[in-house]
């Protein structure tokens, strides 16, 4: 299941690191089941571990005694918000209830990652997760292990990971803490992903003061597998051996899910650094190769990655999934620190580990593969049958002959608490929505408009992000067809047929703050559109839901609305949610972040050679391509990048979203790409049409001459046309001779189109007729200068 320590019960105070709280002194050996039976009244630090009174009583009821120290540690992490989804579960059910039918889905919500069939033989699996709090506390390792965690989720499904993407959100670009966090996060993602040999093909870099004390570091991974190599996590088959493979277990990351996650952050954050895991990408690379070799040799019965909640989560989930029991000898777990106690071994979140269930007669073969790759593999236990009574088996763990754990695994993995938390619309929402950006002063003259354009393209959210993306390897594996700054990453999956997948991740916290229901739909629509402009057909969704504290009714309302919007949106678009992650407690003190649902959409393209890039093509002849704007532009400026950059304004209601129109647009784009009508296509979203034109021109250094439509030519209407962020739009360029067929296709699908100009290979400028003309060199300077100015000019190095 989840691997990221991002949420947990908030009752845990920072004084209460479990390693310290669980202070049984061990003079008489560890706290055993026998001893727990004899000392029913002994006080236990459950509250400090984040468990409520009633939760603790429930544990006592399940066990019919007090839990041992190890059991208490296990329940506290498995029943944490992060692992149990106790506040979100009642809402997340909608993703299943409203799921549109799909004959492609091989595995869905509840698995390590969703799996989607893209041909009769090939499937892909993808998922996005958060590693927000660790990345704030220790940016490099937090971000690095975020990549490592999501990669193991993908690996556990039987897939070879083939690409990663990282949606990142930081505080104000010029804030001193952003200068601390961003470089570390970027270096951590690069350091881990590059060393694993996974191309980084996209993502986001967003700045907003709302994320000042709580950056969002989300990580997405996609993997590819033959359909018949799909792996299960079930610890099936009594007598089978439980093998722990990968890195040794250390004290790093203990309590990540319950300590870091419970965190509404405060001045004590630095003290939590020991709760952040430390990554070793080299070991993970070897682990990947070893697992894939084991899968191909059919040597694995069940497999689960170790992430958040470490061994506890892997043991209980694999046993619960099969209804079996398990017998584990904890002293067999290879340790970095020989002095570790049983509850620490069970709670450790040391990275780069996988739990395998293998047949006894294949154990030697499994160990041989591990040895070939130089990876440690150790038999630590065996699968046991269900109870004589017919009840599911129990998980029994001994440590040096002391029985320290004896629990029903499902009571930890599946039967955690579920809460329907109180919800209330934020009190300020009505006033916020009434404060519309459409009434703000607008640029009045062509010169003002030009100055606005230059300011916008150089603003932190719209500027060139090469400073970040150059630190990621986008070429490794040799199948990257499109990568950032393209709208979506596009990966070739099959070299012979050209079959490929496209991926995009998008979110807009400002829109969601103004209207979480439609904000979530807008994020979905944008991601869907970003995949569609490449020519791929969107087929599935993953999400990472970043919110404040669920104990705040206003946050809970935002969460419920966003989930409802996303579930409704997926139903309307006909693509299922296959999995995702919830990250609560993203707040500093009482101030929650903007609700930020980040949505990932996966698309399929039959032949990657048909892909459409965002940049206008260099014309082969004197005649430029024709530029069309698809979709309709309205006076929609609330929540826009323009409102924020020029007025620091956030208010009003976000643009309208019409998913039927998004669907029609995607159909036009896919068909037009397939038959070769398009030389470029670019989604219109943040920064509006102006931003799209600048990016499309700068990509290959091709100019454009734009004529605004009649109804947008007077007064402030040119400004609206250029900077409105109306949804459901894309800019395309069409080679001469294709325009009739292309517009015919639009008419057939009911997509409105507007011819707005031509590309210009001779004159390197963007001209908005009747308004202004800007040389591309000037645009490029404005677009590219910002990041180096903020975070250090690194290059080129002049001699």
């Amino acid at each position: 299941m989840t691997t990221q320590p991002d949420t947990a019960s908030s009752e845990a105070e920072e004084k209460s690191l479990p390693a310290q709280v669980a202070s049984y002194d061990g003079r008489n050996g560890p706290d055993t089941v026998e001893r727990a039976g004899e000392t029913a009244g002994e006080l236990q630090p459950f509250a400090e571990l984040g468990l409520r009174d009633d939760e603790y009583e429930r544990i006592r009821g399940i066990l019919d005694r007090r839990p041992t120290q190890s059991e208490l540690a296990m329940y506290s992490i498995m029943w944490s918000e992060h692992c149990s989804y106790k506040s979100s579960k009642v809402h997340l059910r909608q993703f299943g209830e409203k799921q549109p039918p799909s004959d492609r889905m091989l595995a869905g919500i509840g698995e390590n990652a969703g799996v989607i069939k893209i041909s009769d033989e090939i499937a892909v699996t993808f998922k996005v997760e958060s590693h927000n709090h660790p990345s704030f506390v220790e940016p490099y390792q937090g971000a690095a292990t975020g990549v490592g965690g999501i990669v193991r989720d993908i690996l556990a499904m039987g897939a070879r990971p083939v690409a990663v993407m990282d949606p990142l959100r930081f505080g104000a670009a010029d804030h001193e803490d952003t200068a601390r966090v961003l470089p570390g996060v970027v270096a951590g993602i690069g350091g881990y992903g590059n060393c694993l040999g996974l191309p980084n093909v996209g993502g986001e870099v967003v700045f907003d003061p709302t994320y000042q004390g709580n950056p969002l570091v989300n990580a997405l991974c996609v993997g590819v597998l033959p359909v018949d190599r799909l792996q299960k996590k079930d610890a099936a088959g009594p007598g089978n051996i439980v093998v722990l493979m990968g890195a040794k277990t250390g004290r790093d990351g203990i309590g990540g899910v319950s300590v870091l996650a419970s965190a509404t952050f405060d001045d004590g954050s630095q003290a939590r650094r020991p709760s952040v895991q430390v990554g070793d990408p080299f070991t993970e690379k070897l682990l990947i190769e070893a697992c894939l070799e084991l899968y191909d040799a059919n040597l694995v019965v069940g497999i689960q990655d170790l992430g958040g909640a470490g061994l506890t989560c892997a043991l209980t989930e694999t046993a619960a999934a099969a209804g079996t029991g398990m017998r584990v000898w904890l002293e067999r777990v290879p340790l970095r620190e020989p002095s570790m106690e049983p509850h620490e071994i069970l709670a450790s979140e040391s990275q780069e580990r996988m739990l395998l269930i293998v047949k006894p007669e294949q154990l030697d073969a499994v160990l041989a593969v591990a040895e070939k790759w130089g990876v440690l593999a150790t038999a630590i236990g065996e699968v046991t049958p269900s109870e004589v009574s017919g009840l599911p088996g129990r998980l029994r763990i001994t440590w040096r002959d002391h029985l320290v754990v004896d629990v029903p695994p499902a009571s930890l993995a599946d039967d955690g608490p579920v809460y329907a938390r109180p919800m209330r619309e934020p009190a300020d929402l009505i006033l916020l929505q009434a404060d519309r950006a459409e009434t703000l002063p607008r640029p009045a003259t062509p010169d003002d408009l030009k100055a606005t354009l230059l300011r916008m393209v150089g603003s932190p959210n719209l500027c060139d992000k090469s400073w970040v993306t150059e630190q990621y390897d986008r070429y490794v594996l040799g199948n990257t067809v499109l990568a950032q700054p393209e709208d979506a990453g596009l990966i070739r999956v099959d070299e012979h047929s050209g079959l490929g997948v496209a991926l995009s991740v998008d979110g807009n916290g400002r829109f969601a703050r103004l209207d979480p229901y439609n904000g979530a739909k807008l994020a979905l629509a944008e991601s869907y559109r970003n995949v569609a402009v490449t020519g791929a057909k969107p087929v599935a969704v993953t999400n990472c839901l970043n919110f404040g504290s669920p104990e705040d009714p206003a946050v809970m309302w935002q969460f419920a609305e966003a989930v409802r919007g996303l579930a409704d949106g997926c139903l309307e678009l006909g693509i299922p949610v296959t999995g995702g992650n919830v990250s609560f407690y993203n707040q500093t003190g009482a101030a929650a972040i903007h609700p930020t649902p980040v949505v990932g959409v996966l698309g399929v393209i039959d032949d990657v050679a048909d892909r459409v890039p965002i940049g206008f093509a260099k014309p082969a002849t004197g005649d430029g391509d024709l530029i069309f704007l698809l979709g309709e532009t309205a006076n929609e400026l609330s929540g826009s990048e323009w409102a924020w950059v020029t007025h620091e304004h956030l208010g009003g209601v976000p643009p309208k979203v019409d998913l039927a129109k998004e669907r029609a647009l995607a159909q036009v784009l896919a068909e037009a790409a397939r038959v070769g009508h398009l030389s470029a296509a670019h989604d219109v979203s943040d920064g509006g049409l102006a931003q799209v034109l600048v990016e499309a021109c700068l990509r290959n250094g091709v100019g454009a001459r734009i004529a605004l439509p009649e109804e947008f030519s007077a007064g402030s209407m040119p400004f609206v046309y250029l900077f409105s962020e109306s949804a459901g739009r894309a800019v395309v360029s069409v080679p001469r001779g294709h325009e009739k067929a292309f517009t015919g296709l639009c008419a057939e699908q009911g997509v409105s189109w507007t011819p707005i100009g031509v590309t210009d290979g001779q004159n390197e400028a963007l001209e908005i007729r009747g308004q202004f003309s800007v040389p591309l060199a000037e645009l490029r300077e404005a677009h590219t200068a910002t990041m180096p100015k903020l975070f250090g000019a690194s290059l080129p190095v002049e001699d």
Partner: protein, 227 residues
């Protein structure tokens, strides 16, 4: 029969599949070699691919240089076996003293991935004979420790003996001495390159097809040698 080009996989090699693909696209037969096996299986030439062998722990290439397969490659290279080291492979060749100098941390301390213009200065080696001298090519660069350094005498000798294989154009991306992107040994059979020609062999996935020249060069070289 097409020439057989070995591609070595160390623990942590990443671009081994890409190098093998480049050999095939150029028309050769790619033979995968395993770091722990000192048998070169009769290959006609060897590519040491990019990646992070042994996690780049200790020093880039410092551990890989001692792998069993390297003993055979070092022996072979001294006897004229053509060897191309790309990125991490270049670092390994320097650690193995088959090439002079060393690759150190980029001067700006960041990993850098960009499409890089190069000038092929030495078109006479086993791996560059398909290029014109001074030909300008576009090939991806992606490395954190790509800054080539050597003492002045070595640099002067490399320049004087036409052993600088390629130099960076339009901006030095990592602070390399004299913009050096690649060098060769005295015999011209061993070449180290920091940029990645194996990522510029297909229009779909690379910025150009310029990288293919390194792989067609070796096939041409081997065909000439056997003729």
């Amino acid at each position: 029969m097409s020439a057989r080009i070995g591609v070595v996989t160390f623990p942590g090699s990443l671009d081994d599949g890409d190098a093998a693909r480049a050999v095939r696209v150029a028309g050769g037969e790619a033979v995968r070699l395993w770091h722990g096996d000192s048998d070169l299986h009769g290959v006609d030439a060897v590519v040491l691919p990019g990646g992070f062998s042994y996690g780049d722990y200790l020093r880039t290439g410092a551990i890989a240089r001692f792998a069993p397969v390297m003993e055979s490659i070092i022996d072979g290279a001294r006897g004229g076996l053509p060897v191309l080291g790309i990125c991490n492979g270049f670092q390994i060749l320097c650690e193995a003293h088959l090439l002079p100098g060393a690759l150190t941390r980029n001067s700006h301390l960041h990993f850098r991935n960009r499409d890089q213009w190069l000038r092929v200065d030495a078109a006479s080696t086993a791996w560059t004979n398909s290029f014109e001298a001074d030909q300008e090519i576009l090939v991806p660069l992606k490395s954190g420790e790509g800054r080539y350094v050597a003492d002045r005498a070595t640099l002067d000798a490399l320049a004087a003996e036409n052993r600088i294989v390629a130099t960076y154009l339009r901006g030095n991306p990592n602070g390399s001495e004299r913009d050096i992107a690649g060098v060769t040994n005295e015999a011209g059979n061993v070449v180290g390159l920091m940029p990645h020609p194996e990522h510029a062999i297909e229009a779909l996935t690379g910025p150009s097809l310029d990288g293919l020249g390194f792989f067609t060069s070796i096939l041409k070289h081997l065909a000439g040698a056997s003729a």
